[in-house]
């Protein structure tokens, strides 16, 4: 085992301008927010973001000007409405959007995890989304060689970097996740570079004592960062809940041309880790 523990700044240098990036979690849950704030502080550009159902994680990077393209099944703020920066910049064509659907995006990650160029899925035929995807070269109608059934072949999605926020990791990158896992393990297998940010760094003996709790083993992980409250304002199951009030403030900031101020206060103004003790449970 090789030691992978490093600082937030050092880990963020693994992300290069123009990289294809995916994040762990789903909507407002266990997104690696502190890592993304560091990406913004480092001024990364032209990122290509891909995920099934992202929310404030992608929207924050889009608003901060780090993004060239977005590919998602759905990008919205749940019952709080539209993803405000995404909507603005998609409608003004400042970013390119390539809408996918949840299953082809997950299947693309799975194909990459399996080391194969594509994976076939059912459904999709008859949707205009397929036409866009065929033009983009990400999906194509095919015939199953054994049954003749018409299916969709989804091209593998191999992100340059996957960033996953987890509950516990050791210094080598062994990672534990509590509660819903989403596609985090698949993404860790699919990506070229995997960065884990963790609420706590625990001794390696902890992992050896209970190996069945390990969701991602060390050899898949390139960098581990200690990031308590690293998902904030998103939730981290068993640790803290979503801060819906913060997300409302974020939306209001974007919609009232105060997003620059939001970034100053919550991103650029904080060089270190987020510590909001009221969110701890």
């Amino acid at each position: 085992m090789r030691k992978a523990l490093c600082g937030l700044k050092e880990a963020a240098t693994l992300v290069k301008d123009g990289d294809v990036l995916t994040t762990g979690g789903a909507t407002f849950h266990r997104a690696p927010m502190e890592f993304l704030r560091e990406i913004i502080r480092q001024g990364k550009k032209d990122l290509v973001l891909v995920d099934r159902e992202p929310a404030i994680d992608f929207d924050l990077l889009i608003g901060a000007g780090c993004v060239a393209k977005v590919r998602a099944g759905l990008l919205a703020f749940e019952l709080l409405g539209f993803a405000p920066n995404f909507r603005k910049k998609a409608e003004s064509r400042e970013i390119i959007t390539k809408e996918g659907a949840c299953q082809p995006i997950i299947a693309g990650f799975r194909a990459a995890a399996m080391g194969i160029p594509s994976l076939t899925v059912r459904g999709m035929l008859g949707s205009d989304l397929l036409e866009i995807s065929e033009i983009l070269g990400s999906q194509r109608e095919v015939e199953d060689p054994f049954t003749g059934e018409k299916l969709i072949a989804v091209r593998a999605i191999e992100p340059d970097v996957a960033v996953i926020h987890a509950h516990e990791a050791d210094e080598y990158g062994n990672t534990r996740i509590e509660g819903p896992v989403y596609e985090d393990v698949i993404k860790a297998k699919a990506a070229k570079t995997v960065i884990v940010t963790a609420e706590a760094i625990v001794p390696n003996e902890e992992f050896r004592r209970k190996p069945e709790a390990t969701k991602i083993p060390h050899f898949l992980v390139d960098a581990v960062v200690h990031a308590p409250n690293g998902a904030y304002p998103c939730s981290c199951f068993n640790r803290y809940d979503v801060d819906y009030d913060h997300i409302r403030e974020y939306i209001a900031a974007v919609n009232n041309d105060r997003f620059g101020k939001y970034l100053d206060e919550h991103v650029y103004g904080r060089a270190g880790l987020w510590t909001n003790s009221k969110q701890r449970i």
């Binding site: 789903a26 909507t27 407002f28 849950h29 099934r52 159902e53 998602a72 099944g73 759905l74 990008l75 919205a76 749940e78 019952l79 709080l80 539209f82 993803a83 995404f86 909507r87 998609a90 409608e91 959007t97 809408e99 996918g100 659907a101 949840c102 299953q103 082809p104 997950i106 799975r110 899925v121 059912r122 459904g123 999709m124 035929l125 008859g126 949707s127 205009d128 989304l129 397929l130 866009i132 018409k150 509660g179 819903p180 896992v181 989403y182 596609e183 698949i186 939730s235 199951f237 809940d241 979503v242 819906y244």
Partner: protein, 252 residues
């Protein structure tokens, strides 16, 4: 009816689309489906498998949140089942019921969740269809809910086909059912032409009013009837899970 009463009526109608022993999934931004699934499990479908978009299986939904993936909704779940696993199940034909939304819907049941205007030059960039294009044609029953039944949402032709209606399906997929539950009535496609027809109108709304609020010539089922309003004990079950009235959010 006020917003909460309309929501309660829709939740009750949606819950009755679930049969006992069904395996049922809800997705993102889905307060009405979560409440309908919980209600079905507490009443007529105790043996259904409730698979949450938050990944919990058979959770006891104590209350709902502004995020339908909020992990607090997984309270007392028997286990976790990830979305990629539910999608495997759907491809096997073993996910029986799915609830989906729509910004526009047409007479054949095509839904648009992608864009108002053209895809190359959107007037409104919508959030995206999530699982719609995958699940709509292959799931035995899809229930679409709409809190805004107007000529702008029930349209002659959708701007973009995100989810496939009956004129965008293979012959084999024609057998899969769709039900639309709106704030005005319940619609289905149970006719040889597979076009939308009004099956029931909600109390306080007339057939004429619903046809006027539909952007195409809405058929009326021969056995059209009034949608039943839930009994007080049903309403009580719904309200206990949503004391803050989050279910009224979508009603604008």
């Amino acid at each position: 009816m006020d917003k909460l009463e309309t929501a309660d009526l829709m939740i009750y109608a949606m819950s009755r689309e679930i049969e006992n022993n069904n395996t049922v999934l809800h997705g993102v931004s889905s307060p009405l489906p979560i409440l309908a699934m919980s209600l079905a499990r507490k009443t007529h479908a105790p043996d259904m498998a409730f698979v949450s978009g938050a990944e919990g299986v058979d959770p006891d939904v104590e209350r709902i949140y502004l995020s339908s993936f909020d992990p607090r909704q997984n309270r007392d779940a028997v286990g976790y089942f990830g979305l990629h696993e539910v999608f495997d199940l759907a491809q096997r034909g073993e996910l029986h019921v799915m609830f989906l939304g729509s910004a526009q819907i047409d007479r054949y049941g095509n839904t648009n969740l992608s864009v108002i205007g053209s895809i190359d030059n959107p007037k409104v960039q919508l959030p995206g269809g999530a699982a719609s294009a995958f699940l709509m044609p292959i799931t035995p029953k899809v229930v679409i809910w709409s809190a805004r039944h107007t000529p702008r949402t029930f349209v002659e032709e959708v701007d973009f086909v995100t989810g496939q209606g009956y004129n965008h399906r293979s012959q084999e997929q024609m057998k899969n059912e769709m039900t639309i539950v709106s704030n005005l009535g319940v619609m289905n496609f149970k006719n040889p032409d597979r076009v939308m027809q009004l099956q029931s109108y909600h109390p306080g709304h007339s057939i004429d009013e619903i046809r006027r609020n539909t952007g195409f010539d809405l058929r009326v089922a021969p056995d059209v009837t009034e949608t039943p309003f839930p009994e007080p004990q049903i309403v009580e079950l719904i309200r206990a899970m949503d004391p803050d009235g989050i279910r009224a959010t979508e009603f604008g």
